[in-house]
């Protein structure tokens, strides 16, 4: 069952029931991945997110990703480099619980919008920063972006490949780690505010995003270092990737937490060798068996195999390109594939809401708004008359 989100209404299509974060207001000044996508996880559970962007729109709008990352929020255009624009943002801060920025400490301070500028004026505000490098580290002023963070933190050597040497990681692993940590940090600070009555500064650097992925690979002790196997090609799970007929690929990671009714070998039509016996084989015997197995996979259609694996209680998944995932039966069955009517490109198919709160279900609340689509309504809520707003528009402030 696909959800539908239409862009017709001024604040997006409001979901029917109450949502968990109704009443929470977030001002999103950020760009990149971790800010907008992290905030999206809150917006689609009810937070009123106001994206504040420069007149004409945030430069990231040029990227296709923006239509997903900036869904379910309102857009106000403000020129923050002008005193009138800055003042309007401050008025907005007075109505908000959270501010999110990814411009860097220096840039925000230059605008007079750094944490130190806002702390005393808005003591309940949670101010969330997403720099590439953590504040206070000796290289904090170096240019920072996804791949530069990977390079400095060794990730290009940690994620081993078919060859030796560093590998460029296509997945924005640092930003994605940070994308989860940003809303966790915000919600934790809001919980603390219940007790302390105060907001605070929350910082999630992309470097911390990387660290969140080292749970399995970096555990150093006096007695030695405990690591996930490191090899070329990578160990453990790479070994269960097989090519099927027609050049399609399967990840035959069979453990599925239930008792299988058939063995993998019986599905593949090869000799059933118990695991214990497999481990006792000589390297040559083992390689020969593996060769037989690879050949068996190549004879079979991927989707047919997956059906048989699942019927037998064995895990397996098609290794697909991202756009093919929209037909995954589980995503379809759980309503995770959504139709979003984008004001610029029309009806799009997007990935929806990942977290399933049973009492207060999340929902896509609308497409990426056009730049400034909600400027008038938000400024009106701050008490600005139509004439005031027209004058601000005339001056290029909004």
């Amino acid at each position: 069952m696909a959800q539908q989100a239409s862009g017709g209404a001024s604040s997006g299509g409001a979901p029917p029931g109450p949502q968990a974060l109704d009443g929470l207001r977030i001002i999103d000044l950020s760009g990149g991945i971790a800010g907008p996508l992290g905030v999206l996880l809150l917006a689609e559970h009810g937070a009123d997110v106001i994206k504040v962007e420069p007149p004409g729109g945030h430069p990231d709008r040029a990227l296709p990703a923006s239509r997903v990352y900036n869904r379910s929020r309102r857009s106000v255009t403000l020129d923050l480099t002008r005193p009138e624009g800055r003042d309007l943002l401050l008025e907005l801060c007075a109505t908000a619980d959270v501010l999110v920025e990814a411009s860097g400490r220096r840039a925000m301070a230059e605008l007079g919008l750094g944490y130190d500028d806002l702390r005393d004026r808005f003591p309940r505000l949670v101010y969330c920063s997403i720099p590439a490098w953590p504040s206070g580290v000796r290289y904090e002023d170096r240019p920072g972006d996804e791949a530069l963070v990977h390079a400095r933190t060794g990730q290009q050597w940690e994620n081993t490949s078919f060859r030796s040497g560093p590998v460029f990681l296509h997945s924005a692993v640092a930003s994605y780690g940070a994308m989860f940590l940003v809303p966790i940090g915000i919600m934790s600070a809001l919980h603390a505010r219940e007790r302390t009555g105060r907001g605070q500064h929350v910082e999630v650097s992309l470097l911390q995003g990387v660290l969140s992925l080292t749970t399995q690979i970096w555990n150093w002790t006096d007695k030695g270092q405990f690591l996930l196997q490191k090899s070329h090609p990578p160990g453990v799970h790479q070994a269960t990737i097989y090519e099927c007929a027609d050049g399609e690929w399967i990840h035959a990671s069979t453990q599925a937490g239930i008792t299988p009714t058939r063995t993998e070998a019986s599905i593949l039509g090869i000799e059933d060798v118990p695991l214990a016996q497999l481990f006792q084989m000589s390297p040559e015997e083992r390689a020969a068996y593996e060769e037989t197995k690879r050949a068996a996979f190549k004879r079979r259609r991927r989707d047919e195999l997956i059906e048989e694996y699942h019927a037998a209680g064995l895990g397996a998944e098609a290794i697909v390109a991202p756009h093919e995932r929209f037909s995954h039966p589980q995503l379809v069955a759980t309503g995770a594939v959504v139709q979003v009517d984008d004001p610029e490109v029309g009806m799009t198919t997007q990935y929806g809401v990942p977290m399933y709160l049973q009492g207060t279900p999340g929902a896509v609340r609308g497409p990426q708004p056009l730049p400034g689509a909600h400027t008038d309504e938000v400024l009106a809520s701050l008490g600005r008359s139509a004439a005031d707003i027209a004058a601000l528009r005339e001056q290029g402030v909004v």
Partner: protein, 404 residues
């Protein structure tokens, strides 16, 4: 100042990585997390020592046999004192054991209850569990990292990317529900899955009205990067990550690599010309960068305002874990483990100005806090010994060895 989640109690019935990692984040942030572990031990103990340490620190541990009615009774007594319950049992398992949402709600009406699955609580595959690679395969990152489109096999990411993608949002889901509860809502149950979490790694991909997918930057067959200006280059002594992808970097780059002639080369004169002749430009720069040491290139590029970093081999993370700045800032942590001595791991993943997180407790031994927790529930020593004698609970004795 205590951590932001000080005062919250979480009961963690999870095992392996996708279950325990979320509660560990909550423990880092100050929550009192009690790991309820089967008396035979978490499936991750033993041969995957590092992974166990990496998702269990900060917790107290009570070892209970939930197959015995008295074990379930103790578990529910704990739930009655808690704010949150979290685990990654397969569909229906918690209900069968007697620690499902309805059981927990009966003893704690406003409990927040999160079950993490492979595929979710509904749908044709809901009954199946599964491991990290299934999520990595299904979301498209293995296909793109190969990259398969360039003729390579798919490549699995070694991070437990899928597990992490389930664990972090399930911690987030609990915090979102907590906000709701604090603002007049009640308790509720929720679910998360490896599949649904991993899809966020490719959330930027969408289909247009006619079903056409968005174009995405693709990796080259040698897995060096995305185009000649955002990729790895081998130097005379190591590798350099260049990030000169903005138009304003071009001229500065040419001068910094001592090739000012490239500025006037028609093949590379504009952004689109550089795209069109990307392979040629890559070859020119490959030759250039081999001509000097990585650190010299970084200096020259720094001086020219062109972003770059030396691609560091950290030797299993050692250079990061012993970086003085990261230790001082609390991004790397050190604490004592009773059997392993000093432990170094990542520290605070989120920095809070007023309520910083903490890591003080090592990953627990099996049942390390059984007696302490039973005492808090009102069981005296005799009762505890009796429960242990009957195999309902356990705790370590002097012969306990790592790994269990």
């Amino acid at each position: 100042m205590p951590g932001p989640l000080e005062g919250l109690r979480v009961i963690d019935f999870g095992q392996f990585l996708a279950g325990p990692f979320g509660p560990m984040l909550l423990a880092d942030l100050g929550a009192d997390v009690i790991k309820v572990e089967p008396t035979r031990g978490d499936g991750m103990r033993g041969n995957v020592v590092g992974s166990f340490m990496g998702c269990q620190r900060g917790k107290r541990d009570i070892a209970i046999d939930l197959k015995q009615p008295e074990g379930v009774e103790i578990a529910l007594q704990l739930v009655a004192t808690a704010d949150m319950v979290h685990h990654n049992m397969t569909l229906g398992t918690a209900d069968r054991l007697g620690v499902g949402y309805e059981h927990c709600r009966a003893v704690k009406p406003d409990i927040l209850y999160c079950n993490n699955y492979m595929y979710g609580a509904e749908g044709p595959l809901a009954h199946m569990g599964g491991l990290d690679p299934l999520a990595q395969a299904a979301c498209g990152i293995e296909w793109e990292q190969g990259p398969v489109a360039a003729g390579n096999p798919p490549l699995w990411y070694r991070y437990g990317h899928g597990d992490v993608a389930a664990a972090m949002p399930s911690a987030l889901a609990l915090l979102i529900a907590l906000y709701h509860r604090e603002h007049g809502g009640g308790g509720q149950s929720m679910w998360m899955s490896l599949l649904h979490g991993a899809m966020l790694y490719t959330a930027d991909s969408w289909l247009g009205p006619d079903g056409t997918p968005t174009s995405r930057p693709s990796l080259d067959a040698r897995q060096l990067g995305i185009g000649p200006l955002y990729r790895l280059y081998e130097t005379a002594d190591g590798w350099l990550q260049l990030a000169a992808h903005r138009p304003e970097h071009w001229e500065a780059l040419c001068r910094a690599v001592r090739r000012p002639d490239l500025v006037d080369d028609d093949r590379f004169a504009t952004v689109s010309a550089r795209d069109e002749h990307g392979d040629e430009l890559g070859k020119v720069l490959e030759e250039v960068f081999l001509g000097d040491l990585a650190v010299n290139w970084r200096r020259a590029l720094d001086a020219a305002g062109v972003p770059s970093e030396v691609s560091v081999d950290t030797w299993d993370g050692e250079t990061v874990l012993f970086d003085g700045d990261l230790v001082r800032l609390g991004l790397v942590t050190e604490y004592e483990h009773p059997l392993l001595g000093r432990v170094r791991q990542f520290g605070n993943l989120i920095s809070f100005s007023d309520t910083p997180g903490r890591q003080e407790r090592a990953a627990p031994m099996l049942g390390q806090h059984t007696r302490e927790i039973l005492a808090e529930l009102g069981y005296d020593d005799t009762a505890a010994e009796d429960l242990r004698a009957r195999g309902v609970v356990t705790w370590p004795d002097d012969t306990y060895a790592w790994p269990v």
